[in-house]
Protein backbone atom coordinates (compact mmCIF):
# COMPACT_ATOMS: atom_id res chain seq x y z
CA UNK A 1 0.00 0.00 0.00
CA UNK A 2 1.09 3.57 -0.58
CA UNK A 3 1.69 5.65 2.53
CA UNK A 4 1.29 8.85 0.57
CA UNK A 5 -0.22 9.68 -2.79
CA UNK A 6 -0.06 13.16 -4.32
CA UNK A 7 -2.10 13.98 -7.38
CA UNK A 8 -1.41 17.30 -9.01
CA UNK A 9 -0.88 18.98 -5.65
CA UNK A 10 -0.52 22.75 -6.12
CA UNK A 11 -0.10 25.70 -3.77
CA UNK A 12 0.08 29.31 -4.87
CA UNK A 13 1.01 32.24 -2.65
CA UNK A 14 -0.16 35.35 -4.45
CA UNK A 15 1.40 35.09 -7.88
CA UNK A 16 4.08 32.59 -6.86
CA UNK A 17 3.49 28.90 -7.52
CA UNK A 18 5.28 27.42 -4.51
CA UNK A 19 4.21 23.90 -5.43
CA UNK A 20 3.29 23.23 -9.02
CA UNK A 21 1.14 20.16 -9.84
CA UNK A 22 3.26 17.63 -7.99
CA UNK A 23 2.25 13.98 -8.36
CA UNK A 24 4.01 11.30 -6.39
CA UNK A 25 3.53 7.92 -4.72
CA UNK A 26 5.48 6.90 -1.66
CA UNK A 27 5.11 3.23 -0.67
CA UNK A 28 4.80 2.24 2.97
CA UNK A 29 8.09 1.68 4.76
CA UNK A 30 10.16 3.82 2.42
CA UNK A 31 12.68 6.38 3.57
CA UNK A 32 11.91 9.11 1.09
CA UNK A 33 13.73 12.39 0.53
CA UNK A 34 12.60 15.66 -1.01
CA UNK A 35 15.81 17.28 -2.17
CA UNK A 36 16.03 20.83 -3.42
CA UNK A 37 17.36 24.31 -2.78
CA UNK A 38 15.76 26.75 -0.34
CA UNK A 39 12.51 28.04 -1.74
CA UNK A 40 12.01 24.99 -3.96
CA UNK A 41 8.68 24.26 -2.26
CA UNK A 42 9.70 21.32 -0.07
CA UNK A 43 8.38 22.75 3.18
CA UNK A 44 5.18 23.84 1.49
CA UNK A 45 4.62 20.25 0.36
CA UNK A 46 5.22 18.99 3.91
CA UNK A 47 2.93 21.64 5.40
CA UNK A 48 0.16 20.61 3.04
CA UNK A 49 0.61 16.89 3.73
CA UNK A 50 0.57 17.53 7.48
CA UNK A 51 -2.73 19.47 7.16
CA UNK A 52 -1.24 22.82 8.15
CA UNK A 53 -1.80 24.42 4.75
CA UNK A 54 -4.68 23.91 2.37
CA UNK A 55 -3.71 23.02 -1.21
CA UNK A 56 -4.79 25.48 -3.88
CA UNK A 57 -5.50 22.58 -6.23
CA UNK A 58 -4.95 18.85 -6.50
CA UNK A 59 -5.50 16.03 -4.03
CA UNK A 60 -3.54 13.79 -1.71
CA UNK A 61 -3.99 10.81 0.58
CA UNK A 62 -1.84 10.37 3.65
CA UNK A 63 -1.89 7.06 5.55
CA UNK A 64 -4.95 6.15 3.49
CA UNK A 65 -6.94 9.24 4.45
CA UNK A 66 -8.07 12.02 2.16
CA UNK A 67 -6.26 15.26 2.82
CA UNK A 68 -9.19 17.58 2.29
CA UNK A 69 -11.94 15.53 3.95
CA UNK A 70 -10.18 13.62 6.74
CA UNK A 71 -7.45 15.87 8.16
CA UNK A 72 -8.16 14.78 11.75
CA UNK A 73 -7.49 11.13 10.90
CA UNK A 74 -4.28 12.08 9.13
CA UNK A 75 -3.04 13.99 12.17
CA UNK A 76 -3.57 10.94 14.34
CA UNK A 77 -1.26 8.80 12.21
CA UNK A 78 1.63 11.10 11.45
CA UNK A 79 4.52 12.55 13.39
CA UNK A 80 6.15 15.80 12.38
CA UNK A 81 9.49 17.37 13.07
CA UNK A 82 9.36 20.93 11.83
CA UNK A 83 12.17 22.88 10.24
CA UNK A 84 11.98 25.62 12.87
CA UNK A 85 11.95 24.79 16.57
CA UNK A 86 8.47 24.09 17.91
CA UNK A 87 9.09 23.40 21.59
CA UNK A 88 7.68 25.22 24.57
CA UNK A 89 10.78 26.69 26.16
CA UNK A 90 9.05 27.30 29.48
CA UNK A 91 8.43 23.59 29.93
CA UNK A 92 10.90 20.80 30.62
CA UNK A 93 11.79 18.26 27.95
CA UNK A 94 9.65 15.64 29.62
CA UNK A 95 6.69 18.02 29.94
CA UNK A 96 6.92 18.86 26.25
CA UNK A 97 6.64 15.20 25.30
CA UNK A 98 4.02 14.46 27.93
CA UNK A 99 1.89 17.36 26.74
CA UNK A 100 2.10 16.00 23.21
CA UNK A 101 1.28 12.42 24.29
CA UNK A 102 -1.75 13.63 26.25
CA UNK A 103 -3.00 15.48 23.19
CA UNK A 104 -3.03 12.12 21.43
CA UNK A 105 -5.16 10.68 24.22
CA UNK A 106 -2.53 8.23 25.52
CA UNK A 107 -3.14 6.69 28.94
CA UNK A 108 -0.88 7.52 31.85
CA UNK A 109 0.85 4.12 31.93
CA UNK A 110 1.40 4.11 28.18
CA UNK A 111 2.76 7.64 28.30
CA UNK A 112 5.13 6.78 31.09
CA UNK A 113 6.49 3.79 29.21
CA UNK A 114 6.71 5.42 25.77
CA UNK A 115 8.28 8.63 27.05
CA UNK A 116 11.03 6.68 28.82
CA UNK A 117 11.52 4.71 25.62
CA UNK A 118 11.81 7.65 23.23
CA UNK A 119 13.97 9.67 25.62
CA UNK A 120 16.35 6.71 25.81
CA UNK A 121 16.46 6.45 22.04
CA UNK A 122 17.47 10.09 21.55
CA UNK A 123 19.75 9.90 24.58
CA UNK A 124 18.03 12.61 26.58
CA UNK A 125 16.87 10.58 29.58
CA UNK A 126 19.36 12.37 31.86
CA UNK A 127 18.33 15.86 30.73
CA UNK A 128 14.59 15.30 30.52
CA UNK A 129 13.73 17.40 33.55
CA UNK A 130 15.63 20.51 32.52
CA UNK A 131 13.76 23.43 31.01
CA UNK A 132 14.02 23.37 27.22
CA UNK A 133 15.39 26.89 27.44
CA UNK A 134 18.62 25.34 28.73
CA UNK A 135 18.96 22.82 25.88
CA UNK A 136 21.53 23.11 23.09
CA UNK A 137 20.39 23.16 19.47
CA UNK A 138 21.16 19.46 19.00
CA UNK A 139 19.31 18.50 22.17
CA UNK A 140 16.25 20.45 21.07
CA UNK A 141 16.25 18.66 17.73
CA UNK A 142 16.56 15.28 19.42
CA UNK A 143 13.76 16.16 21.81
CA UNK A 144 11.57 17.10 18.85
CA UNK A 145 12.30 13.75 17.23
CA UNK A 146 11.42 11.98 20.48
CA UNK A 147 8.19 13.95 20.65
CA UNK A 148 7.35 13.17 17.04
CA UNK A 149 7.63 9.47 17.82
CA UNK A 150 5.94 9.14 21.17
CA UNK A 151 2.50 8.48 19.72
CA UNK A 152 3.85 5.71 17.45
CA UNK A 153 3.05 7.36 14.10
CA UNK A 154 2.94 5.34 10.89
CA UNK A 155 4.48 8.14 8.89
CA UNK A 156 7.14 10.51 10.15
CA UNK A 157 7.70 13.85 8.40
CA UNK A 158 10.97 15.65 8.98
CA UNK A 159 11.59 19.08 7.52
CA UNK A 160 15.36 19.67 7.28
CA UNK A 161 16.01 17.46 10.31
CA UNK A 162 19.71 18.22 10.59
CA UNK A 163 19.73 21.88 9.60
CA UNK A 164 22.31 23.74 11.64
CA UNK A 165 23.58 20.69 13.53
CA UNK A 166 27.21 19.64 13.82
CA UNK A 167 28.49 16.69 11.81
CA UNK A 168 28.53 14.32 14.77
CA UNK A 169 24.95 15.02 15.81
CA UNK A 170 23.88 14.83 12.19
CA UNK A 171 25.31 11.32 11.82
CA UNK A 172 23.64 10.17 14.99
CA UNK A 173 20.31 11.44 13.77
CA UNK A 174 20.84 9.64 10.45
CA UNK A 175 21.61 6.38 12.23
CA UNK A 176 18.60 6.86 14.37
CA UNK A 177 16.25 7.55 11.45
CA UNK A 178 17.59 4.53 9.61
CA UNK A 179 16.95 2.24 12.54
CA UNK A 180 13.44 3.65 13.04
CA UNK A 181 12.70 3.02 9.44
CA UNK A 182 14.13 -0.49 9.33
CA UNK A 183 13.16 -1.80 12.78
CA UNK A 184 9.76 -0.21 13.26
CA UNK A 185 8.85 0.01 9.59
CA UNK A 186 7.88 3.68 9.90
CA UNK A 187 7.60 5.48 6.59
CA UNK A 188 9.93 8.47 6.76
CA UNK A 189 9.64 11.53 4.55
CA UNK A 190 12.28 14.16 4.94
CA UNK A 191 13.24 17.32 3.15
CA UNK A 192 16.84 18.37 2.86
CA UNK A 193 19.15 20.52 0.86
CA UNK A 194 22.16 18.48 1.96
CA UNK A 195 23.24 16.16 -0.85
CA UNK A 196 25.09 13.73 1.43
CA UNK A 197 22.03 13.45 3.62
CA UNK A 198 19.74 12.55 0.76
CA UNK A 199 22.35 10.20 -0.70
CA UNK A 200 23.32 8.23 2.38
CA UNK A 201 19.92 8.14 4.04
CA UNK A 202 17.13 7.88 1.48
CA UNK A 203 15.79 4.87 -0.39
CA UNK A 204 14.28 7.17 -2.97
CA UNK A 205 14.60 10.85 -3.79
CA UNK A 206 12.54 13.46 -5.55
CA UNK A 207 14.61 16.40 -6.71
CA UNK A 208 12.45 19.51 -6.47
CA UNK A 209 13.14 22.84 -8.07
CA UNK A 210 10.74 25.76 -8.54
CA UNK A 211 7.89 23.74 -7.10
CA UNK A 212 8.20 20.86 -9.56
CA UNK A 213 9.64 17.36 -9.34
CA UNK A 214 12.46 17.28 -11.86
CA UNK A 215 13.80 13.83 -11.05
CA UNK A 216 12.50 10.89 -9.02
CA UNK A 217 14.46 7.71 -8.37
CA UNK A 218 16.85 5.90 -6.02
CA UNK A 219 20.11 7.78 -5.37
CA UNK A 220 22.02 5.00 -7.20
CA UNK A 221 19.84 5.22 -10.30
CA UNK A 222 19.99 8.98 -10.32
CA UNK A 223 23.77 8.89 -10.14
CA UNK A 224 24.22 6.15 -12.72
CA UNK A 225 21.77 8.04 -14.92
CA UNK A 226 24.50 10.60 -15.34
CA UNK A 227 26.31 8.14 -17.63
CA UNK A 228 29.48 7.62 -15.65
CA UNK A 229 32.21 9.28 -13.63
CA UNK A 230 33.42 12.80 -14.09
CA UNK A 231 36.92 13.35 -15.38
CA UNK A 232 38.28 16.85 -15.06
CA UNK A 233 41.42 18.17 -16.74
CA UNK A 234 43.24 21.44 -16.58
CA UNK A 235 45.42 22.77 -19.33
CA UNK A 236 46.54 26.01 -20.93
CA UNK A 237 43.56 27.96 -22.20
CA UNK A 238 44.83 28.02 -25.75
CA UNK A 239 44.77 24.22 -25.83
CA UNK A 240 41.27 23.74 -24.45
CA UNK A 241 39.58 23.26 -27.83
CA UNK A 242 42.08 20.61 -28.90
CA UNK A 243 41.66 18.69 -25.65
CA UNK A 244 37.90 18.79 -26.11
CA UNK A 245 38.28 17.32 -29.57
CA UNK A 246 40.42 14.48 -28.22
CA UNK A 247 37.95 13.77 -25.41
CA UNK A 248 35.03 13.62 -27.81
CA UNK A 249 36.80 10.84 -29.71
CA UNK A 250 37.04 8.57 -26.68
CA UNK A 251 34.38 5.86 -26.80
CA UNK A 252 31.72 6.23 -24.10
CA UNK A 253 32.47 9.88 -23.40
CA UNK A 254 29.48 12.17 -23.07
CA UNK A 255 28.76 15.79 -22.18
CA UNK A 256 32.14 17.46 -22.54
CA UNK A 257 32.01 20.83 -20.81
CA UNK A 258 34.72 23.46 -20.52
CA UNK A 259 35.01 26.33 -18.10
CA UNK A 260 38.11 28.51 -18.49
CA UNK A 261 41.08 26.19 -18.09
CA UNK A 262 38.94 23.31 -16.90
CA UNK A 263 37.43 20.65 -19.09
CA UNK A 264 35.19 17.93 -17.74
CA UNK A 265 33.81 14.86 -19.37
CA UNK A 266 31.37 12.22 -18.18
CA UNK A 267 32.55 8.70 -18.89
CA UNK A 268 31.82 5.26 -17.39
CA UNK A 269 34.73 3.61 -15.55
CA UNK A 270 36.87 6.69 -15.83
CA UNK A 271 39.97 5.05 -14.31
CA UNK A 272 40.19 2.67 -17.29
CA UNK A 273 40.03 5.51 -19.79
CA UNK A 274 42.40 7.88 -18.05
CA UNK A 275 45.70 6.38 -19.32
CA UNK A 276 44.39 6.35 -22.89
CA UNK A 277 43.28 9.96 -22.71
CA UNK A 278 46.55 11.11 -21.21
CA UNK A 279 48.49 9.22 -23.89
CA UNK A 280 46.39 10.78 -26.66
CA UNK A 281 46.77 14.26 -25.25
CA UNK A 282 50.53 13.90 -24.91
CA UNK A 283 50.80 12.47 -28.42
CA UNK A 284 49.16 15.68 -29.62
CA UNK A 285 51.86 17.65 -27.81
CA UNK A 286 49.60 19.19 -25.19
CA UNK A 287 50.70 19.57 -21.57
CA UNK A 288 48.01 18.77 -18.99
CA UNK A 289 48.32 20.58 -15.68
CA UNK A 290 46.06 18.27 -13.70
CA UNK A 291 43.63 15.40 -14.03
CA UNK A 292 41.07 14.19 -11.52
CA UNK A 293 38.35 11.57 -11.30
CA UNK A 294 35.17 12.15 -9.41
CA UNK A 295 32.58 9.50 -8.76
CA UNK A 296 29.19 11.10 -9.44
CA UNK A 297 27.32 12.48 -6.45
CA UNK A 298 23.80 13.87 -6.22
CA UNK A 299 25.41 17.28 -6.56
CA UNK A 300 26.28 16.46 -10.18
CA UNK A 301 22.84 14.96 -10.71
CA UNK A 302 21.33 18.17 -9.47
CA UNK A 303 23.52 20.28 -11.72
CA UNK A 304 22.72 18.15 -14.71
CA UNK A 305 18.99 18.66 -14.15
CA UNK A 306 18.94 22.29 -13.14
CA UNK A 307 22.12 23.73 -14.61
CA UNK A 308 23.17 25.23 -11.28
CA UNK A 309 24.57 24.04 -7.98
CA UNK A 310 22.28 23.72 -5.03
CA UNK A 311 24.58 25.57 -2.68
CA UNK A 312 24.91 28.58 -4.90
CA UNK A 313 24.27 31.50 -2.60
CA UNK A 314 24.09 33.94 -5.49
CA UNK A 315 21.04 32.47 -7.15
CA UNK A 316 19.23 34.59 -9.69
CA UNK A 317 17.15 37.49 -8.39
CA UNK A 318 13.91 35.80 -9.34
CA UNK A 319 14.92 32.75 -7.29
CA UNK A 320 15.57 34.97 -4.31
CA UNK A 321 12.28 36.78 -4.67
CA UNK A 322 10.52 33.44 -4.94
CA UNK A 323 12.22 32.04 -1.88
CA UNK A 324 11.48 35.21 0.07
CA UNK A 325 7.83 35.27 -0.95
CA UNK A 326 7.25 31.66 0.07
CA UNK A 327 8.99 32.27 3.38
CA UNK A 328 6.90 35.36 4.13
CA UNK A 329 3.64 33.74 3.19
CA UNK A 330 4.33 30.72 5.33
CA UNK A 331 4.76 32.74 8.51
Amino acid sequence: MDAIVLEGLTKTFGSVKAVDTVSLRIPEGQLFGLLGPNGAGKTTIINMLTTLLKPTAGAATVAGFNLSTEPDNIRRHIGIIFQDPSLDRDLTGRENIDFHAMMYGMSKELRHQKIAEVLEVVDLAQKADLLVDQYSGGMKRRLEIARGLVHSPRILFLDEPTLGLDAQTRRRIWDYLRSLNKKLGITVILTTHYMEEADSLCDRIAIIDHGRIIALDTPENLKSGLGGDILTFECDETEVDRVIAILQDISGASSVISDGMKISVVIPNAERHLPEIIANVQAAGIMLQSASIKKPSLEEVFISYTGSTIREENGSLSDKVRSFTIRRMRQ
Partner: protein
Protein backbone atom coordinates in the same frame (compact mmCIF):
# COMPACT_ATOMS: atom_id res chain seq x y z
CA UNK B 1 -16.05 17.26 18.72
CA UNK B 2 -15.12 18.37 22.22
CA UNK B 3 -12.29 16.39 23.81
CA UNK B 4 -12.06 16.99 27.56
CA UNK B 5 -8.49 15.62 27.67
CA UNK B 6 -7.23 18.12 25.11
CA UNK B 7 -8.98 20.97 26.91
CA UNK B 8 -7.42 19.82 30.16
CA UNK B 9 -3.92 19.55 28.67
CA UNK B 10 -3.99 23.07 27.25
CA UNK B 11 -5.42 24.40 30.50
CA UNK B 12 -2.76 22.53 32.48
CA UNK B 13 0.06 23.92 30.32
CA UNK B 14 -1.27 27.41 30.96
CA UNK B 15 -1.24 26.74 34.70
CA UNK B 16 2.37 25.51 34.66
CA UNK B 17 3.45 28.53 32.66
CA UNK B 18 1.47 30.88 34.90
CA UNK B 19 3.10 29.55 38.04
CA UNK B 20 6.57 29.70 36.48
CA UNK B 21 6.40 33.14 34.94
CA UNK B 22 6.14 35.54 37.83
CA UNK B 23 6.98 38.42 35.51
CA UNK B 24 3.96 37.80 33.32
CA UNK B 25 1.60 37.91 36.28
CA UNK B 26 3.11 41.15 37.52
CA UNK B 27 3.10 42.65 34.04
CA UNK B 28 -0.54 41.82 33.42
CA UNK B 29 -1.89 43.21 36.67
CA UNK B 30 0.50 46.16 36.98
CA UNK B 31 -1.84 48.57 35.20
CA UNK B 32 -5.02 47.68 37.12
CA UNK B 33 -2.99 47.60 40.33
CA UNK B 34 -1.63 51.12 39.78
CA UNK B 35 -5.08 52.34 38.89
CA UNK B 36 -6.54 50.71 41.98
CA UNK B 37 -3.95 52.01 44.39
CA UNK B 38 -3.23 55.49 43.01
CA UNK B 39 -6.63 56.42 41.65
CA UNK B 40 -8.33 54.65 44.52
CA UNK B 41 -6.47 56.75 47.06
CA UNK B 42 -6.45 59.89 44.95
CA UNK B 43 -10.17 59.97 44.20
CA UNK B 44 -11.50 58.40 47.35
CA UNK B 45 -13.15 61.62 48.54
CA UNK B 46 -14.25 62.78 45.11
CA UNK B 47 -17.91 63.51 44.46
CA UNK B 48 -18.94 61.91 41.17
CA UNK B 49 -22.42 62.88 39.93
CA UNK B 50 -24.72 59.93 39.39
CA UNK B 51 -23.49 57.87 42.37
CA UNK B 52 -26.01 56.88 45.01
CA UNK B 53 -25.25 59.02 48.09
CA UNK B 54 -24.55 56.05 50.38
CA UNK B 55 -21.86 54.72 48.02
CA UNK B 56 -18.36 56.18 48.23
CA UNK B 57 -16.30 56.43 45.05
CA UNK B 58 -13.90 53.68 46.14
CA UNK B 59 -16.78 51.20 46.53
CA UNK B 60 -17.98 52.16 43.07
CA UNK B 61 -14.52 52.03 41.55
CA UNK B 62 -13.25 48.58 42.70
CA UNK B 63 -15.71 46.49 40.61
CA UNK B 64 -14.68 48.62 37.61
CA UNK B 65 -11.02 47.78 38.21
CA UNK B 66 -11.90 44.10 38.52
CA UNK B 67 -13.60 44.37 35.13
CA UNK B 68 -10.52 46.12 33.78
CA UNK B 69 -8.27 43.34 35.06
CA UNK B 70 -10.42 40.71 33.36
CA UNK B 71 -10.40 42.72 30.12
CA UNK B 72 -6.63 43.33 30.05
CA UNK B 73 -5.55 39.84 31.12
CA UNK B 74 -8.17 38.23 28.86
CA UNK B 75 -7.05 40.01 25.72
CA UNK B 76 -3.46 38.98 26.60
CA UNK B 77 -4.38 35.36 25.82
CA UNK B 78 -4.42 36.23 22.13
CA UNK B 79 -0.90 37.53 22.60
CA UNK B 80 0.13 34.18 24.13
CA UNK B 81 -1.17 32.49 20.98
CA UNK B 82 0.95 34.80 18.84
CA UNK B 83 4.03 34.12 20.97
CA UNK B 84 3.33 30.40 20.56
CA UNK B 85 3.16 31.02 16.84
CA UNK B 86 6.46 32.86 16.93
CA UNK B 87 8.22 30.05 18.78
CA UNK B 88 6.65 27.43 16.54
CA UNK B 89 4.65 25.86 19.33
CA UNK B 90 1.32 26.74 17.73
CA UNK B 91 2.15 24.38 14.85
CA UNK B 92 2.86 21.64 17.35
CA UNK B 93 -0.57 22.11 18.91
CA UNK B 94 -2.30 22.35 15.55
CA UNK B 95 -0.90 19.10 14.14
CA UNK B 96 -2.19 17.06 17.05
CA UNK B 97 -5.50 15.32 16.42
CA UNK B 98 -7.26 17.47 19.02
CA UNK B 99 -10.14 19.32 17.40
CA UNK B 100 -9.80 23.05 16.87
CA UNK B 101 -12.82 23.59 19.10
CA UNK B 102 -11.14 21.75 21.98
CA UNK B 103 -7.97 23.75 21.48
CA UNK B 104 -9.92 27.01 21.62
CA UNK B 105 -11.86 25.84 24.69
CA UNK B 106 -8.59 24.85 26.38
CA UNK B 107 -7.17 28.30 25.73
CA UNK B 108 -10.31 29.92 27.09
CA UNK B 109 -10.31 27.69 30.19
CA UNK B 110 -6.64 28.40 30.88
CA UNK B 111 -6.98 32.11 30.23
CA UNK B 112 -10.14 32.44 32.31
CA UNK B 113 -8.50 30.70 35.26
CA UNK B 114 -5.46 32.97 35.24
CA UNK B 115 -7.59 36.08 34.61
CA UNK B 116 -9.87 35.31 37.53
CA UNK B 117 -6.89 34.58 39.80
CA UNK B 118 -5.48 37.98 38.89
CA UNK B 119 -8.83 39.67 39.42
CA UNK B 120 -8.94 38.03 42.86
CA UNK B 121 -5.50 39.43 43.67
CA UNK B 122 -6.87 42.89 42.85
CA UNK B 123 -9.99 42.23 44.91
CA UNK B 124 -7.86 41.03 47.83
CA UNK B 125 -5.72 44.16 47.76
CA UNK B 126 -8.81 46.36 47.57
CA UNK B 127 -10.22 44.65 50.67
CA UNK B 128 -7.10 45.79 52.51
CA UNK B 129 -7.73 49.27 51.19
CA UNK B 130 -11.18 49.34 52.70
CA UNK B 131 -13.45 47.78 50.05
CA UNK B 132 -16.51 46.05 51.56
CA UNK B 133 -18.24 43.08 49.91
CA UNK B 134 -21.96 42.56 50.62
CA UNK B 135 -21.61 38.81 51.29
CA UNK B 136 -20.04 35.46 50.46
CA UNK B 137 -22.92 34.13 48.26
CA UNK B 138 -22.76 37.34 46.23
CA UNK B 139 -18.99 36.91 45.88
CA UNK B 140 -19.47 33.39 44.54
CA UNK B 141 -22.11 34.60 42.09
CA UNK B 142 -19.63 37.30 41.00
CA UNK B 143 -17.21 34.51 39.96
CA UNK B 144 -19.73 33.39 37.35
CA UNK B 145 -19.91 36.94 35.98
CA UNK B 146 -16.10 37.19 36.00
CA UNK B 147 -15.91 33.94 34.10
CA UNK B 148 -18.32 35.19 31.42
CA UNK B 149 -16.39 38.47 31.06
CA UNK B 150 -13.15 36.49 30.66
CA UNK B 151 -14.68 34.19 28.06
CA UNK B 152 -15.88 37.15 26.00
CA UNK B 153 -12.56 39.00 25.92
CA UNK B 154 -10.36 35.91 25.61
CA UNK B 155 -12.44 34.86 22.60
CA UNK B 156 -12.08 38.35 21.14
CA UNK B 157 -8.31 38.08 21.59
CA UNK B 158 -8.25 34.64 19.98
CA UNK B 159 -10.24 35.85 16.97
CA UNK B 160 -7.84 38.74 16.58
CA UNK B 161 -4.82 36.45 16.96
CA UNK B 162 -6.12 34.11 14.27
CA UNK B 163 -6.15 37.00 11.82
CA UNK B 164 -3.18 39.15 12.89
CA UNK B 165 0.11 37.30 12.70
CA UNK B 166 2.42 39.94 14.09
CA UNK B 167 2.93 40.57 17.79
CA UNK B 168 3.41 44.30 17.24
CA UNK B 169 0.25 44.63 15.17
CA UNK B 170 -1.59 42.78 17.89
CA UNK B 171 -0.22 45.08 20.53
CA UNK B 172 -1.36 48.15 18.63
CA UNK B 173 -4.85 46.84 18.02
CA UNK B 174 -5.03 45.70 21.65
CA UNK B 175 -4.20 49.18 22.94
CA UNK B 176 -6.66 50.70 20.54
CA UNK B 177 -9.39 48.33 21.75
CA UNK B 178 -8.71 48.08 25.46
CA UNK B 179 -9.04 51.69 26.48
CA UNK B 180 -12.35 52.58 24.79
CA UNK B 181 -13.84 49.34 26.09
CA UNK B 182 -12.58 50.09 29.58
CA UNK B 183 -13.48 53.79 29.63
CA UNK B 184 -16.93 53.30 28.11
CA UNK B 185 -17.90 50.46 30.45
CA UNK B 186 -18.89 52.58 33.41
CA UNK B 187 -15.86 51.25 35.27
CA UNK B 188 -14.71 54.73 36.32
CA UNK B 189 -17.87 56.82 36.27
CA UNK B 190 -21.63 56.30 35.89
CA UNK B 191 -22.70 56.22 32.25
CA UNK B 192 -25.37 58.87 32.85
CA UNK B 193 -22.54 61.41 32.73
CA UNK B 194 -21.81 60.59 29.07
CA UNK B 195 -23.47 62.45 26.16
CA UNK B 196 -26.28 60.36 24.72
CA UNK B 197 -24.44 59.51 21.48
CA UNK B 198 -21.46 58.08 23.34
CA UNK B 199 -23.68 56.38 25.88
CA UNK B 200 -25.04 54.27 23.04
CA UNK B 201 -21.54 52.95 22.42
CA UNK B 202 -21.47 51.92 26.06
CA UNK B 203 -24.61 49.91 25.59
CA UNK B 204 -22.89 47.97 22.81
CA UNK B 205 -19.95 47.23 25.10
CA UNK B 206 -20.12 43.82 26.84
CA UNK B 207 -17.93 45.05 29.69
CA UNK B 208 -20.66 47.54 30.64
CA UNK B 209 -22.95 44.66 31.66
CA UNK B 210 -20.09 42.75 33.27
CA UNK B 211 -19.00 45.64 35.49
CA UNK B 212 -22.63 46.44 36.27
CA UNK B 213 -23.33 42.87 37.36
CA UNK B 214 -20.18 42.66 39.52
CA UNK B 215 -21.16 45.95 41.11
CA UNK B 216 -24.71 44.76 41.68
CA UNK B 217 -23.43 41.62 43.40
CA UNK B 218 -20.51 43.01 45.39
CA UNK B 219 -21.86 46.39 46.53
CA UNK B 220 -25.58 46.02 45.84
CA UNK B 221 -25.83 48.87 43.34
CA UNK B 222 -26.43 48.34 39.63
CA UNK B 223 -27.78 50.35 36.71
CA UNK B 224 -29.53 47.41 35.02
CA UNK B 225 -31.25 44.32 36.40
CA UNK B 226 -28.83 41.57 37.44
CA UNK B 227 -30.68 38.92 35.47
CA UNK B 228 -30.59 41.13 32.38
CA UNK B 229 -26.82 41.62 32.75
CA UNK B 230 -26.32 37.90 33.20
CA UNK B 231 -28.38 36.89 30.17
CA UNK B 232 -26.70 39.45 27.92
CA UNK B 233 -23.24 38.28 29.04
CA UNK B 234 -24.19 34.63 28.63
CA UNK B 235 -25.44 35.11 25.08
CA UNK B 236 -22.43 37.19 24.04
CA UNK B 237 -20.06 34.64 25.62
CA UNK B 238 -21.61 31.75 23.69
CA UNK B 239 -21.53 33.66 20.42
CA UNK B 240 -17.89 34.67 20.99
CA UNK B 241 -16.82 31.07 21.72
CA UNK B 242 -18.44 29.93 18.49
CA UNK B 243 -16.79 32.75 16.55
CA UNK B 244 -13.37 31.97 18.07
CA UNK B 245 -13.71 28.27 17.29
CA UNK B 246 -14.64 28.98 13.69
CA UNK B 247 -11.82 31.55 13.36
CA UNK B 248 -9.33 28.82 14.22
CA UNK B 249 -11.02 26.32 11.99
CA UNK B 250 -10.70 28.42 8.87
CA UNK B 251 -7.37 30.13 9.57
CA UNK B 252 -4.20 28.48 8.31
CA UNK B 253 -1.60 27.92 10.94
CA UNK B 254 1.87 28.19 9.54
Amino acid sequence: MIEPVAIYVIWYREMIKFVRSKLRIIGAIAMPLFMLVFMGFGFRRIDVPGLPPEIGYFQYFVPGIIGMTLLFTGVMVGMVVLVDRQFGFLKEIMVTPASRVSIVLGRIAGGATTSIIQALIILGISLFMGFRVSGIPQLIAAFIIMFLISVIFISAGLILASRLHDVHDYNNVMNFMNFPIFLLSGALFPLVNLPVAIRWLSFLNPLTYGVDAIRGLLIGVSAFSLMGDFLILLIIAIVMILLAASAFKTGEVT
